[in-house]
Amino acid sequence: MFKRMKLRFRDIRTIGKLIPGADEEAHMMGEEEPGAEHFLLSALKLPDGTAQKVFERVGASPEQFKVAIKKQYSDALNAIGIDTNIMEYDPEPITTSRVLHNAQPSGQAVMKALYALKSHDKDRPLLGAHVVDIVARMEHGVAARAFKAMGLDQNIILSVVKDELDSFQC
């Protein structure tokens, strides 16, 4: 009982870092609301370090993922004959006075999946690797296309995530 309460408080702290981190990543990339890809970038900065370990083990880095996000936008625009210079510059980071934040549908899907995951996995704290797991399961969208642009197989990511979660000690 006490252990569960401790885990719950820990999860609240994790969520308290994950959401503002995703907002910040989105704003730095010139987007108003975070999508799944921004939640993943935020998870890579969580202090538990599990998301980062997964990335290291598949030979990836957060910077490479950011480049891949840009690349999949450029590729998509190239496919319809649009010069992609506009996607290559770094947009001015967004500053906002908004108090209540929202997320893109893919970001909302990440949060819903995390909630569902925590309702049946009550004995483990919420970890960055959980976020990687959820995002790597997405078949479509910016994050999935970015993984593809990096040449990363989502099934390999998922097996490394499983390993990392199984070996995690509180």
Binding site: D75, A76, L77, A79, G81, I86, T96
Partner: protein, 78 residues
């Protein structure tokens, strides 16, 4: 203008939908930058809304929180 003959075939919805997402992002950035410039050039929200083809309330709600008053004032002072 892009050559729309090169639009992805409907048989490849993944490509077409990816292009839609990228275009939306490009349009959002362009809109935000243009509104910021318009405000710094003393356009009213009614004028911006008219130019964007939306209501004044919609334009204000979407953009006002992203425009730092200090920043705009500094630019005006220059």
């Amino acid at each position: 203008m892009p050559d729309f003959k090169s639009l992805p075939s409907p048989d490849k919805p993944e490509e077409a939908l990816a292009a839609v997402v990228a275009l939306r992002l490009m349009a959002d950035r362009l809109e935000r930058e243009a509104v910021k410039k318009a405000v710094s050039q003393n356009w009213t929200w009614a004028q911006i809304a008219e130019a964007l083809g939306v209501t004044r309330q919609a334009a204000h709600k979407r953009h006002a929180s992203f425009i730092s008053k200090k920043k705009v004032r500094k630019k005006k002072d220059k």
